[in-house]
């Protein structure tokens, strides 16, 4: 396939969907390639097993090299925006300062990014979860925080109508929102772009990328068949692990020494607490509140009230047999708070000859201290709310996979420049989670969208 498209976008998640829309709206003929399948409100899997297996890489989760950390990322049209919680937060000055220091890129500050945030926010339905939607898990979180004098805030979510009053349980939307309420790129930017002529090809996994004198050559498998696509330019939006794998396999490490370095993931630690009365943490808006305490931000962690479906809960429980089953029988009586660590110790992504990814990432040093400080706060909150027993799960996991193609001025320490081009490759762009030069300690999705909007303007300017 060649000559048909002005731009190919690899990966259809938070970044790919947004970029596809703005480029198509700007008059470019675009092709959006996605390794996973296309699902929708009528076809999303209805149980966690099928949801994890079909919609996530690795058949559910991928492990760090030491198997101490598990990573989750989606593999479907719409990418991780389909399975995430759609909590949409702007960065604060602390996050931007960290990015400035790490990248030296001038526009990475609140003021210059504000129009890009405003542009994407203006197209989505975003609202704070109201107190009327607090389930008992959220009420216990608020009660515990207030007793300990910790500040909290409502979560800000991309949704249109979750029908909480009518009894809808949002935990089911971890396998895709069957009400089309969650503002994933699948039901927003990709849908709008398709109406303008965007071509979408699910089931196409790009395996190699080559820079040619007249553009790029991509090859990969589509429904089991090898295919080649040529285009004048490509936007890489396959996420931190997807972009790193593709470029490492395609031999770019020789030119881009920092490729795969600087991998962050906001390691998360879950604590469950048992209460005498049922909590029913899985009911209604199962995530509603977060910590909003400057002391926590300073200490390098944040807290969110959250819960887990039974499969995840059973996995997180350290043990098996009758003890596990007895714990599971208390499912309705469990509350949960998660610590998300603002990690500072970078991990590394590599790929072996067969293309298997290896993520070297541990919760160690300063990050382990941050995690412990968070766990102490969680224990205080849960005890203040009247918890009978508390279980801190030993396994940590990463949902916010970031870095590997850090943005920056210095070619030796970064991969992408301030115009979102790979250093030395003016036809290859990236603006997704892979370009994060450091962990922000804040939900990344909205900033990925804002960066993607800015990148789309750069691409349009180049054409």
């Amino acid at each position: 396939m060649s000559g048909q498209f002005d731009c190919v976008i690899v990966g259809s998640g938070t970044s790919g969907g947004v970029i596809a829309y703005y480029l198509t709206a700007g008059g470019m003929r675009c092709l959006l390639l996605e390794a996973g399948d296309a699902y929708g409100a009528d076809t999303f899997p209805e149980n966690d097993m099928d949801g994890s297996a079909r919609m996530f890489w690795g058949g559910g989760l991928e492990l760090s090299t030491t198997a101490e950390m598990a990573f989750l990322r989606a593999r479907c049209l719409g990418g991780t925006s389909v399975v995430n919680q759609c909590l949409l937060d702007r960065f604060d000055e602390h996050a931007w300062d960290g990015w400035q220091a790490a990248s030296g890129i001038g526009f990475l500050n609140g003021e210059e990014m504000a129009p890009h945030y405003a542009e994407v926010e203006g197209r989505l339905s975003i609202r704070e979860v109201p107190p009327t939607h607090h389930n008992r898990n959220a009420l216990l979180f608020v009660e515990g925080c207030e007793r300990r004098g910790y500040q909290w805030a409502p979560l800000r979510r991309g949704e249109t109508d979750c029908a909480i009053e009518e009894g809808n349980d949002c935990i089911a939307c971890l396998n895709g929102c069957r009400r089309d309420s969650k503002q994933s790129t699948l039901v927003t930017f990709i849908r709008w772009a398709q109406a303008l002529g965007l071509q979408v090809m699910p089931g196409f996994q790009v395996e190699r990328l080559e820079s040619t004198p007249d553009g790029v050559r991509l090859s990969g498998t589509h429904q089991g068949q090898m295919q080649e696509i040529r285009a004048p330019r490509v936007v890489l939006a396959a996420g931190a692990l997807g972009n790193a794998r593709l470029l490492l396999r395609s031999g770019f490490k020789k030119r881009l020494l920092s490729l795969g370095e600087g991998f962050y993931c906001h390691p998360q630690l879950m604590t469950f607490a048992e209460f005498d009365e049922p909590v029913d943490a899985h009911r209604g808006a199962f995530q509603a509140c977060k910590s909003d305490d400057p002391r926590f931000r300073q200490a390098g962690f944040k807290l969110e009230n959250v819960f887990a479906p039974p499969t995840s809960l059973a996995m997180l429980y350290p043990g098996f047999g009758p003890r596990l089953q007895a714990f599971m029988l208390r499912y309705r009586h469990l509350a949960c708070i998660e610590v998300a660590v603002h990690d500072t110790v970078p991990g590394r992504i590599t790929a072996d000859a067969r293309g298997k990814l290896h993520m070297a990432k541990r919760l160690e040093g300063e990050d382990a201290r941050r995690g412990q400080a968070g766990l102490v706060a969680v224990r205080e909150i849960l005890e203040s709310a009247g918890a009978r027993t508390i279980l801190q799960c030993p396994m940590s996991f990463g949902l916010h996979l970031m870095g590997g193609l850090a943005i920056g001025r210095d070619e030796r320490t970064s991969v992408v420049n301030g115009r979102f081009n790979l250093h030395g490759f003016p036809n290859i762009y990236a603006a997704d989670s892979s370009v994060f030069p450091a962990a922000p300690g804040i939900n990344p999705a909205l900033t990925i969208m804002a960066l993607s909007h800015r990148a789309s303007q750069e691409v349009l300017r180049d054409v």
Binding site: R54, G167, F320, A326
Partner: protein, 133 residues
């Protein structure tokens, strides 16, 4: 029953399942639910290398008595605290086997004609999705 596992491997998975999630109060044993028949729905989406590792493990476990399976699961669980490659291998075994078992068991899927309690019902997990009008 499975197009990916041999009957011997399926039987081993059922025995591992009964060790990981045995009958307990209203909760049925793994093997009683018949959920093992859906194992291909999971394995089909896993990387081939991981499937090969799980099959090897199941073949090894198929010749062990139940006490041996329990010992290996305990050892794998203890691996959480071990450093180095041995700890990593043990954690992978624990996550691989336990992950397979609890995904099947707590999927809520049971064999056709199963009349016992569904595990998700027993723990009170019945999320409601209100269709859009």
């Amino acid at each position: 029953m499975s197009e990916i596992l041999t009957p011997r491997e399926v039987r081993a998975l059922e025995r591992v399942g009964d060790v990981v999630v045995p009958a307990c109060g209203p909760l049925p044993a793994f093997s009683a639910t018949g959920c093992v028949r859906y194992v291909d729905d999971l394995l089909r989406y896993m990387p081939p290398g991981d499937v090969a590792d799980i099959r090897l493990l199941l073949r090894i476990l198929s010749v062990k008595p139940t006490a041996g399976i329990r010992f290996i699961m305990s050892l794998a669980g203890a691996g959480r605290r071990w450093p180095g490659p041995i700890g990593a291998a043990l954690r992978m075994i624990e996550i691989g086997l336990k992950g397979l078992v609890v995904s099947l068991y707590y999927s809520g899927k049971t064999a056709p004609g199963y009349t016992g309690t569904v595990p998700t019902d027993a723990i009170g997990y019945r999320p409601r999705v209100i269709p859009r009008a």
